[in-house]
């Protein structure tokens, strides 16, 4: 039988604040266990949470980037459950009044554009980590991650394939990255997702029983998990079996999910308003101020790159893969005044160098404006494109300014026609055989002579000027024959 999948996502993103959500312990990754902890984040008796203002503002920014409405009044609630990675045995989260609601993003599907609705974005605290490998009989609890601020982005069940889910998560990830509120490093677990999947036979309306897969921390994993779950549910229904509503754990190594029985009794979370944290309020003006503080987001940049700069969609997307690269490109384009040339040079030359050395755009040792000055020299025919590549290499290796490299290496194009004429005449005199062949009508020899001239000029001859002089000298010889 054919089935239609219905998929919803809960995306958790760690906010890139400097300190934790309820205490001033620093936020970080890795390190020795329990070294970024204090009595507050380890839930010691008598301690109290004090809300981090930046975490709340970042949540608002996430909502604005994802086209949400911001609740002018929101509050925190306690979600009660016992698990040893949660030292207070409750997670401070948001229940009925999240910071953001009713947003969404448009994604591209083979059938055209599709708007995926976001039901809510709420702020909450992360839990710690359990380590299982050291001992046979014990698990160990490390609370360094306890209290790292998280947002949870909850979609409506609007997705219907793993491809759509992948596209959506990638778009959300870019939006959060560009908003400057999260590093979205999936490999460090700073972006994770829970996936809800149900299927129903084609031609029916009633949604099937859904299952939830927890804590998937790669975009590829999300897509694989959805495909595997659709297949598992389809097989069950094909065999006439029922689907159990349950939470399952996705094992990315095995490519399969398993039922999590241990969380069965945790469904009654006994939410109630958090008495230790007073509610959050925003005025319309404050929300607008946060909106204005947002950097230009990738969807706007994409429109600008394609419509205004005339870049291809592929090139635009390539430049948008990281905030640093996109910012670098924009600054190069602004300085040299030629976005298309900037895009080509960056995609071909700069990205190749980065790929070869395994570096990210953040590691480029000079600013986009500096590269812009180099490209301006190419545009103004002050240096040749070929030499520009050599200058770039030196800029990467030495960090020197392009002007200094050009001057030091003598890359400056020779616009003195007298010097070119002398060189051309010397070359023609030294290559009598080739000249004779050309005069006999062998047009191909022109290229050889051109190459000889360029080499003699050490690449500094303006190719057009050299070509013109070479042709006129040859023509003169032809005439004198």
């Amino acid at each position: 039988m054919k089935y239609i999948p219905t998929i919803g996502l809960e995306i958790h993103a760690e906010l890139s604040t400097k300190s934790k959500i309820f205490c001033d312990c620093p936020v970080g990754f890795g390190g020795e266990p329990n070294t970024r902890c204090c009595p507050v984040c380890t839930g010691m008796p008598g301690t109290l949470p004090v809300l981090n203002k930046t975490a709340v503002e970042y949540t608002v920014k996430a909502g604005l980037a994802l086209n949400c409405q911001i609740n002018e009044f929101s509050k925190l609630d306690r979600k009660n459950y016992f698990y040893p990675d949660l030292p207070k045995a409750y997670q401070i989260s948001q229940f009925d009044l999240p910071v953001c609601k009713d947003g969404g993003l448009t994604i591209n599907t083979p059938e055209g554009e599709k708007f995926i609705r976001i039901e809510r974005i709420h702020l909450e605290e992360d839990a710690g980590k359990l380590l299982h490998d050291s001992y046979d009989n014990y698990s160990l609890a490390d609370y360094n991650r306890c209290g790292v601020p998280l947002i949870e982005i909850v979609t409506k069940p609007d997705l219907s394939s793993s491809d759509e889910a992948r596209e959506f998560v990638e778009k959300v990830r870019l939006m959060l990255l560009y908003s400057g509120i999260s590093d979205c490093r999936m490999e460090e677990g700073s972006l994770r997702a829970d996936v809800n999947v149900s299927i129903r036979p084609v031609g029916t309306d009633k949604l099937g029983t859904r299952t939830e897969m927890k804590n998937i921390n790669s975009i590829r994993g999300i897509a694989r998990c959805i495909d595997a779950e659709i297949e598992r549910q389809s097989e069950l229904l094909d065999e006439g079996e029922a689907i159990t509503q349950e939470t399952r754990r996705w094992d990315d190594n095995k490519g399969e999910s398993k039922s999590m029985r241990s969380k069965e009794d945790a469904h009654d979370y006994r939410y109630f308003p958090e008495p230790d944290v007073v509610p959050i309020s925003f005025t319309k003006q404050q929300i607008e101020a946060l909106r204005h503080s947002l950097p230009e987001l990738p969807n706007k940049r994409f429109a600008k790159y394609t419509a205004d700069f005339g870049l291809s969609e592929t090139d635009a997307n390539l430049l948008l893969t990281s905030v640093s690269l996109s910012d670098f490109f924009e600054s190069t384009a602004k300085e040299c005044g030629n976005p298309k040339a900037a895009s080509n040079f960056i995609i071909v030359e700069v990205l190749r160098r980065l790929n070869d050395s395994g570096l990210a755009a953040e590691a480029i040792p000079f600013g986009g404006n500096v590269l812009g000055r180099l490209l301006k020299m190419v545009d103004g025919e002050e240096i040749t494109a070929a030499n520009a590549k050599k200058v770039l290499a030196d800029m990467f290796d030495t960090g020197m300014e392009p002007e200094a490299i050009v001057a030091g290496k003598g890359y400056k194009v020779i616009n003195d026609t007298g010097e070119v004429e002398n060189t051309v005449r010397e070359i023609l005199a030294a290559n009598e055989k080739a000249v004779a062949e050309y005069l006999e009508g062998k047009e191909k020899t022109f290229g050889f002579l051109m190459g000889q001239c360029s080499r003699a000029l050490a690449g500094r001859g303006n190719p057009k000027v050299v070509q013109d002089i070479l042709r006129s000298e040859l023509n003169r010889l032809k005439g004198s024959c």
Partner: protein, 486 residues
């Protein structure tokens, strides 16, 4: 020096005029504790050595003329308020060996003024109860009659002040836990406006109701301690920012001429013991003689205050006490093979019966399918009770009521009857529900010579009004005031 009548104010002037040294004063209290606390059982731990060190530091400040109001004043601290490096047990087997690596803000403030901390005093386990009999370690006795309870949950605080085993004390009040034991032990207890005193370092019972409050011999002593501990705290997001104004200690004078005082009719029920009722009426006559106008008013929502209070406080407690799982601190059951066994058994073995009752009630009130019928209903009553008080304070400067329906009962009398214990909180819980300041002070003695408490409740941040009313009454009552004979 007659320690049994000594107040903070008097001690201040003895210290400042060098008639006595801080060390002498501290030793006097430490000696009294050694002599009398076997009888009263108010202290869970005595910090003699550090108290004497603090005393000599305080003396230096006094000698250099830099001593503040509470400098060198020996105080006791309820054992649910954390002091770094000192066991904080909450009178629970669960926290028997817990030594916090941090200090409560209120204690830090007292120490910043160089108060002397004599030790930690007994309470009902996790501050749940009204007799201090729910302590896992000892039963504190009422200094007026050692066969009776001191009240609770701050029974150790009230008894230590009443028996002059400390000049003053910090207690905590979630539903009357400062005021009721103060009434039972014939001393003064004040619950401040919610948010006036930082809760940081107070082991949470019910976060939206808990407040640290002072217990002292006199209204002015309570005001002096309140001056020392109040103020916004960056470590407590519910602590209030407010205009400091003049000190609370200076608010006690001025009299109550033309004060309008309201008395809620709903409190004059059949449960009110006749001797307490007579003391109340006599107090009203006194207040009127002092120039106030006392008038009855009706506030029907008060009838529901007790169940609303128990739903809210137990719900919050069930969540606040979930952290005790045997993993990070506290009692850990032996030989457990799974997390579920570890947590289930640690909690079953570490908590006492009353705590379990509250956890069960609170879990029930929040459980799916019951939230609206119980917890949410209680929050609605919270609105009604707050509105009722708003209305009352549009007419009255303060509200007057008995602190308790009866005087101190016999040890063991109510231990098997949680329901009647809960109902006895009728007069005190509403101030916590509405976040209001309330003070209890002695207004008479029953036929057995047991103290009777009278309460004034004020509008939010209306501490000055209730302190003034209470101090004015207290001055008039002074000739009848008694101290226990140990």
């Amino acid at each position: 020096m007659d320690t049994t009548k000594l107040t903070i104010k008097e001690a201040r002037s003895l210290l400042d005029s060098r008639k006595i040294s801080v060390t002498e004063l501290t030793r006097t209290y430490l000696d009294r504790i050694k002599t009398y606390d076997d009888k009263i059982d108010s202290y869970l731990s005595v910090c003699g050595e550090s108290a004497l060190e603090q005393a000599s530091e305080a003396q230096k400040l006094i000698d250099s003329g830099k001593g503040e109001m509470l400098c060198g004043i020996p105080l006791s601290i309820k054992d649910n308020i954390c002091i770094e490096g000192t066991p904080t047990t909450c009178a629970s087997k669960m926290l028997e060996n817990f030594v916090p690596p941090y200090t409560a803000t209120a204690v830090n403030k007292l120490r910043a003024q160089n108060s002397v901390i004599l030790g930690k005093v007994n309470l009902d386990e996790f501050a749940m109860g009204g007799s201090t009999e729910n302590s896992a370690f000892k039963k504190t006795k009422n200094p007026f009659d050692t066969t009776r309870v001191p009240g609770g949950s701050s029974g150790g605080s009230a008894a230590s002040v009443s028996a002059s085993l400390a000049l003053g004390s910090l207690g905590s009040d979630t539903g009357g836990s400062v005021r009721q034991p103060a009434a039972f032990c014939g001393v003064v207890g004040l619950k401040p406006t919610y948010g006036l005193v930082s809760r940081y370092g107070l082991v949470a019972f019910a976060s939206s109701l808990d407040q640290i409050g002072p217990i002292g011999k006199t209204v002015e002593d309570c005001a002096i301690i309140l001056d020392g501990i109040c103020g916004q705290d960056p470590k407590d997001g519910t602590s209030l920012s407010y205009e400091a104004g003049a000190s609370y200690a200076s608010a006690v004078s001025g009299g109550i001429k033309d004060y309008k005082i309201g008395l809620p009719k709903e409190y004059l029920t059949e449960g009110l013991n006749s001797e307490v009722r007579n003391a109340l009426y006599k107090s009203i006559e006194t207040l009127e003689r002092l120039g106030a106008k006392v008038e009855e008013f009706s506030m029907p929502s008060l009838k529901h205050a007790v169940p609303a209070y128990y739903l809210m406080s137990s719900a919050e407690a069930s969540s606040n006490l979930s952290r005790y799982d045997g993993v990070k601190y506290g009692y850990r059951a032996e030989n457990c093979r799974s997390f579920n066994e570890l947590i289930g058994r640690s909690r079953a073995e570490g908590f006492g019966r009353e705590v379990k009752r509250r956890i069960l009630l609170g879990t029930y009130a929040l459980a799916s399918g019951y939230y609206d019928a119980y917890y949410k209903k209680a929050l609605k009553l919270r609105t009604l009770i707050s509105q009722g008080f708003d209305e009352a304070f549009s007419k009255y400067d303060v509200v007057l009521h008995p602190t308790t329906p009866e005087t101190a009962f016999k040890l063991g009398q109510n231990t098997d009857d949680p329901l009647s214990m809960y109902l006895a909180d009728i007069y005190t819980v509403s101030a916590n529900i509405a976040g209001l300041p309330s003070i209890s002070l002695p207004c008479g003695y029953d036929a057995n010579g047991l103290p009777i408490g009278l309460s004034f409740t004020g509008k939010p941040l209306g501490e000055r009004e209730i302190l003034r009313a209470a101090a004015t009454f207290e001055a008039d009552f002074a000739p009848e005031f008694r101290v226990p004979v140990l």
